[in-house]
Amino acid sequence: MHLFLSYTIIGLVTGAVYGIAASGLVLTYTTSGIFNFAQGALAMLGAYGYWQFRYGWNWPAPVALILVILVLAPLLGALLYLGIMRGLRNTAEVTKIVVTVSVMLGIIALAQWIWSPTTPRNDIPFFGVAAKFKFLGVYVTDHEVIALGAAVLIGLGMRYLFQRTRTGVAMRAVVDNPALLELNGGRPNRLAAISWALGGMLAVLAGILVTPISGGGLDVNALTLLVLDAIAAAMFGRLRSLPRTFVGAIVLGLASSYVLAYFPTTWSWASNFRISLPMISLFVVLLVLPQDRLRGAVLLRTRERFKVPSLRSAGSWALVLVAVVLLLEQIMTTEAISALTVGMAFAIIALSLTLLTGYAGEINLAPVSLGAIATIFVFHLGLSGIGLHARITIGGILIGVAAAAVIGGLIALPALRLRGLYLALATLAFGVFVSDMIIADVNPHILPIFHTHFSIFTNGALNIPKVKVGPLDLAAPKAFLTTVTIVFVIIGIGLIALRHSGYGRRLAAMKDSPAASATLGQNLVKLKLSVFVLSAAIAGLGGILVSSASITVNANSYIIYISLTLVMLTVVGGIGNVAGALIGGVLAGVGFQAITSTFQNIYSLHGGPWNFVANLTLVAPAAIGVSIGRNPSGSVGQIVAGYAPLWRAKPVLAGGILLEVAAYLLVVTKFMSNWWFVLATTIIALGLPLVGRLLMPGAFAPPPATGSPPTSSPAPVVEAPASLSGAAAAGGSVRMGFEGGPNNGPA
């Protein structure tokens, strides 16, 4: 009884914190229509901010609390809305999700920049560890009482706000019909900004309260994932009802507390299971949620526009890409080749998003986790030979791909009846579940029926060898890079062919108007399931190739942030284009790490401001991700628009190609180093449109407007390269891959 009571109190307190975070999530979602994936990141920032004032600078606790919770947090929330989220009207759900995910990644990078992760930091409970009293025979700390009290007050306060105040009633109206509210004199933007300010406060409060309860150590990643507990709680209220959200939070808090209390400690997976409880409960809730009303196309056009290339032009670009990679292999170091192989394999995972999100409008936030599933199956079932002679068999690849497809389908199925957001949430939960439960299964345990020792992720690191297909052994780095590139090209062309088929048109129809598709007789669940399974198979194949190119994979290879970064950069590249997958995949796989480590190397050699620049490049991807709200169609379209006039300025184009060939020959003949080549390529790539404009202004004059779509005015030429300038050298060279110039990975 004693045990039960004390764990009940712990559970209630944990639930209270989940409830506070979740109510902020529900509030912002219902008033602005934007689901804030950065809720946990805000909590994390708040906890660190409080630590800085309270313990870093030794301010008195009340001052630090008031400053952080009542001043900085609402300010940050309101700024996020006014600066970023407000611009997301008329964008697809994917864009909205990617923007808040980018904010989350940006806050993480920022926090790691300001507060070095290697220094341990601790928050102490309010009034110290000793501040506790006895209640029915168990100790309760003052901090726990404060947390519970705060949750109760917030619950009652929200109720009062929504039932009794003008602002609250207007907030409820804004959910139903913002346009109508505006007509009646309400101001939806102001209301949304207020709700984001409140949401920021609630997130920060939760972050400050939760840290001492969960051990006291501040941890960027763990705090950021508080958003998952909040999501799981909010699911109980269908992301709308606040009372049910609080009930859900308490249920989750108690459940995780009782698992801690009553599961035998000999079960090695019990603690993993406890951490995974929110993810598991999210799936259970998904299963019982009633079907949503079908959404129609609210607008005649959303702002996202993608042109589907013809198979013929796709084929020519494919040949160019393969030729460029073949040429580059000749001058790159072995390390650079391996790095580019990883990037190219990531681009294959990104292709799964082109199909799923770009063509079908559905979302998967954990594509890399499907790659992890495929990798695990390959490791256990798909290898032949041992040691240096170990190889992945073709059968192994098939098993891995099939496993990713089947498991992906099972994960997606409960969410497919519902809105796209639920699939995003389900896949996010799946991704974290894979990290916490499957990849965390490192210690061998005895299988019940087979009586053998087995662990899923043996010893925490899997060595994945290269592939061998019949007589074709891909152990040599160049052969492997060429093969991965060809696989990318084949899948890419396959996807474009698919988009031109009846199946592809049915996907587009479903994406544009689910309601019209359904009333024409399209079984939406079946179609979504088929496309999700297909995309999971592609992600699985890409994942196997990533693992193989990386040689060893461990828990860090599959943290959820890798998937999120990939999704973000693929959307930035252009989610509807195969070329966008190439940009996103290569940047996420190797691009940004290469740039960051380049600046870090320069700093360690020369000092100066270069460490600052290196940190800046850590934040850059997220900053670019946030910018997607301004340009939701991604960068490929802009780049093409910027370079297209060069076709009419043939002499300039030829000159550029000649220069590039000359630079390449200088490298081959060892007169020039690879770095100068990267620089020359970048200059040629960025300079060509400018030179063309100077020399042949006629070719760059805007063509007489004939039937150009009114909303998608082509971007100014100079803006195309500028849009990726954060990517510096590698960004430039990656882009070259589809513009006819030689490509270069990080050397």
Partner: protein, 246 residues
């Protein structure tokens, strides 16, 4: 036996009774009109019939089968098709592909439903005079034309019951007259059952065999055009006001 029969349909949104015990039947080979002022509940009734909205009460019988619990796709397979007053075109597809994909959806129903999509697309595009805009983006077209694409798309699944939600709004007088002739031709040749929501009185009176008048969620009159024209309640609620009669 009517091909489509909705009986006792009730819907309320948050305490607001939008449809109250509405019944309506549509026979094969005829155009049935559904008229009423804006906000009367016409589109809501279409949403219930096509399965986009679950009613609080009532039944929908399609070709003798109760489909009240069935989803929209199942009803489409049983021969139901519709257009939308608030356009629901596929904006990333060209005009021709908008029409074509509907046939491709039908072909995905199963082997016995299979049609030749290409020739059927050509036929329907010709029937509705859409050849000149076949390769245009749907978002570029004026609304009146876009509504015709909706009709073409709805015809591609070879429906037996077709619900048209203000298909002729925005059309010129002569276009409306042509459209009326087309509807008469469709019901005669293909034995279609059409339910037409339209504000254009001349079109409705010209092609409909029966007209239902909906006002504030209730059917206030049912009968042939000449009778509806004289019904005092109808004139009061709808025809009497010049608004929307245009």
């Amino acid at each position: 036996m009517a091909l489509l029969e909705a009986s006792g349909i009730s819907v309320s949104f948050g305490g607001n009774q939008v449809l109250d015990q509405v019944s309506l039947s549509v026979d094969a080979g005829t155009v049935t009109g559904l008229i009423g002022p804006n906000g009367a509940g016409k589109t809501t009734l279409f949403n219930v019939i096509t399965g986009l909205l679950d009613p609080k009460g009532g039944r929908v019988i399609l070709d003798g089968r109760d489909v009240t619990k069935a989803g929209p796709a199942v009803r489409a397979r049983r021969g139901l098709s519709r257009t939308y007053q608030q356009l629901e075109l596929f904006t990333s597809l060209s005009v021709r592909d908008n029409v074509r994909v509907a046939g491709e959806i039908r072909n995905a129903w199963g082997r016995r439903f299979r049609i030749n999509v290409k020739s059927e697309t050509d036929r329907v595009m010709g029937l509705l005079g859409l050849e000149d805009v076949a390769d245009r983006e749907v978002g570029e077209l004026p609304t009146a034309r876009a509504r015709i694409i909706e009709v073409a798309r709805a015809l591609m699944t070879k429906p037996r019951v077709l619900l048209l939600d203000e298909p002729a709004s925005g059309q010129t007088e002569s276009e409306t007259a042509d459209f009326g002739r087309l509807l008469s031709q469709l019901v005669k040749e293909d034995e279609l059952a059409i339910c037409l929501v339209e504000h254009d009185v001349s079109l409705v009176m010209g092609v409909c065999a029966t007209i239902h008048v909906l006002d504030y969620g209730q059917i206030i009159a049912t009968g042939p055009p000449e009778q509806i024209r004289l019904e005092p309640a109808v004139i009061d609620a709808y025809l009497g006001s010049t608004e929307g009669v245009g």
